[in-house]
Point group: C2
Chain length 496, copies 2
Amino acid sequence: MNIETGPIPRLPRGFRDIPPEDVLLRERMIASVCSVYRRYGFEPLETPHIEYLDALGKHLPDVDAPDGGVFAFRDDSAEWVALRYDLTAPLARYVAEHEKDIVFPYRRYQVGPVFRLEKPGPGRFREFYQCDFDTVGAGSPAADAEACCALADALEAAGVERGGYIVKINNRKALNGALEAAGVVSAADGSASDNSLVVLRAIDKLDRVGMDGVIRLLGEGRKDESGDFTKGAGLSNSQIDSIVKYLRASGSGRTDVCDTLFEAVKDSETGREGVSELRAIHDMLSAAGFGEDRAVFDPLIVRGLAYYTGPVFEAALTFETTDERGEKKQFGSVAGGGRYDTLVERFLGRKVPATGASIGVDRLMSALKQLLPPDASAYSAPVLVTAMDPSLMPEYQKLVFEIRSAGIPAELFTGSGGFRKQLKYADRRNLPLAVICGEDELNSGTVSIKDLLLGRELSKDIKDRAAWVDDRPAQITAPRSELVATIKRMLSDNIK
Amino acid sequence: MNIETGPIPRLPRGFRDIPPEDVLLRERMIASVCSVYRRYGFEPLETPHIEYLDALGKHLPDVDAPDGGVFAFRDDSAEWVALRYDLTAPLARYVAEHEKDIVFPYRRYQVGPVFRLEKPGPGRFREFYQCDFDTVGAGSPAADAEACCALADALEAAGVERGGYIVKINNRKALNGALEAAGVVSAADGSASDNSLVVLRAIDKLDRVGMDGVIRLLGEGRKDESGDFTKGAGLSNSQIDSIVKYLRASGSGRTDVCDTLFEAVKDSETGREGVSELRAIHDMLSAAGFGEDRAVFDPLIVRGLAYYTGPVFEAALTFETTDERGEKKQFGSVAGGGRYDTLVERFLGRKVPATGASIGVDRLMSALKQLLPPDASAYSAPVLVTAMDPSLMPEYQKLVFEIRSAGIPAELFTGSGGFRKQLKYADRRNLPLAVICGEDELNSGTVSIKDLLLGRELSKDIKDRAAWVDDRPAQITAPRSELVATIKRMLSDNIK
């Protein structure tokens, strides 16, 4: 490398290039998911990657600087703009801006990259895709039920088999009802004590620490295996009993969960409302044919975002995978959402009911890579037409176009270097076949086709060599007129 | 609107939201174009939207601030980063960064938004899509010929019929040869006098000012209709004759253009090389079956970018359109490209031959909107299942899922408001059909389906009312079991 030359070619920290297979797999996945969204009557919208910082709601009120977590800068009019950090904030801006023209309920989906100025790590990037759909202006639990159905159908369309995922549904109102019933939250104004967060965190830990652990965390506290002590919420025994009653609703059928929940929250109006919404959702799911194999009620679902106000849901993949520590565990959540009514409040000063969900594109991609056959990305490496004799280039061009006309990706070698280098090129790029046409072939009206994948197989696994070579020669010479037919046959042999 | 509430919902200057039809039309267009690229053996690559400013080559060397035209800002490590302004600069960074691992020729395509901090105007936005393909490390004119073929095939795949476009090819070397022959450029070092830009601008104006105008612009200068005088290049008569000889090559068949060009540039080595490359390209085009109806040689093609070093080409649509001033003219250029060898020079200090092209996605979109039938975006507005009686929601849910199962987009009304408001909603959203099921229908085992498009037609065109109503009733009551069949029939009537 020349020292005098300038910049180092490198990517900013936390960013990455996406290789061909992943570009195509993601494209295919998103196309499947979006076709489901459209079938549900959602229409696409594309907002720009840049918004005014105040429209995103990330401007610190008293300081002339943006909140952390967003890529923000001043534009040429010295106004603060920022790269969108999700697709919901731009939706809010869009709905508020066009409020007069939109016919509600407004149902839109959007897919695209979002940007976070956060500490990058393994699998955590500063640019990643989201795939959202939302219904704005619909207060009915029917809209929440539909969102759950759409998530399930979207996962199936993407290639997750039925039984391989589960949509878990809860209702924040039922949860709040349980907190009210336990006296952790005040029924009068719904205001939460600081303690309610400790309680929610304890509930959220059930699958890691077990019911016994949660009970400790709701009480005095819990010591883990390493001896570390986590201070508890300090609830009384009767308060703890009340929460445990709520938690025990988990794990049974949808109507049983509703019955148990009702018992746990019946003293709270919010709680009763929450359970009644869940019953409505159950009726809708059942009418739509979504049984317990696809959607369950799970009182443990909390969902981090503070703004959820009613039903919340997440979709988890149930197949086993190996985590970073080599331990087997369920793959887990790939999508989530819920009801929120504060979408446009920042702009319009009033609440508008909305519900929606977001698929974590990278999470789902990484699952599909484990679930789908390796060629699912639809990436077909091209057949290489080698250029043995530069004076025959127009002849090679004819060959390559004949192959392409049959719909088979094909490429003419246009670089520099002789035949050997061309085969090496094909090999390093993992191309399946090389078409060869020299003086001999030209004169005898034939072409030769080299099976490069077979060549690579053979060099890997010498003992099977004899068997392979018997029914699958590494190079075939065919009449010129049978070029495409021969290539097709060899490619289908390759796939086998 | 509440005055106390904060920000105004608005977009930054020069940015826009893309409506559903356009999102879908663009998706479909890009999918068609990219499938052609893949058939040519190009593989997809996705680089991030953000790069280091110095990697993009837009850092002013002596000033600690970015060049104009790019959105640049400091990241959390205080390094300058910028939104990519095209897809070629990131390709250069990628190739230089992975030089050791890439097997050349490297053939990649990339599609995505790019960002320009330029003055926005009608049809000029600060964020827009590009769709590029390039071959890096291929010096052969075969690679240029292929790029031209790929452009033509891509336009056809997108929906432009053969005959509706033309790929125009020139060679910078032939052009430089003509300038050398005329003594405008020095053959020794290829260095251009300031005058050569004036000459190029004059050549570029041929289709607006005619040969006579160009001759004046090459000489003393030209007065236009308004009386404005443009100072000319001040060439001598023999110099002008030389350039005119070059220009006269335009308008004939590819081999004739080559012959005429050869006469015009034969005293220049560069010029002869340029013509010989054009002849090679002609041979390749002919071998691939690309006749004069798809690709012509046009000595007038200059292409603005300074970095082109060999063949240059652009694809123009030939159908007539009406410009902003109401004048009829050819739609014109939608794609362009050429050979350049400075791609990675900034990083590696040496030249690597490369050739490629870029489709202007917005230009092509706007052409397709005029060329394709209005439903080409594949956007199907959903069928609305109205919710007359809230207690029947699960029944409505069943209906909507039945329709969706048949692959027809359908939506259950989940907003607030009675039947009248629901029909108004369907009307304002331009939905085709509304499914109605009240107590009566439920009891008699039927559903009613209202033809909303017909309703809108009728209210537009009263005189045809009788005819319409005769063979196409605005509302049909069908047995419940014939719901989907009836909807399908009514939708296909709608399309007619």
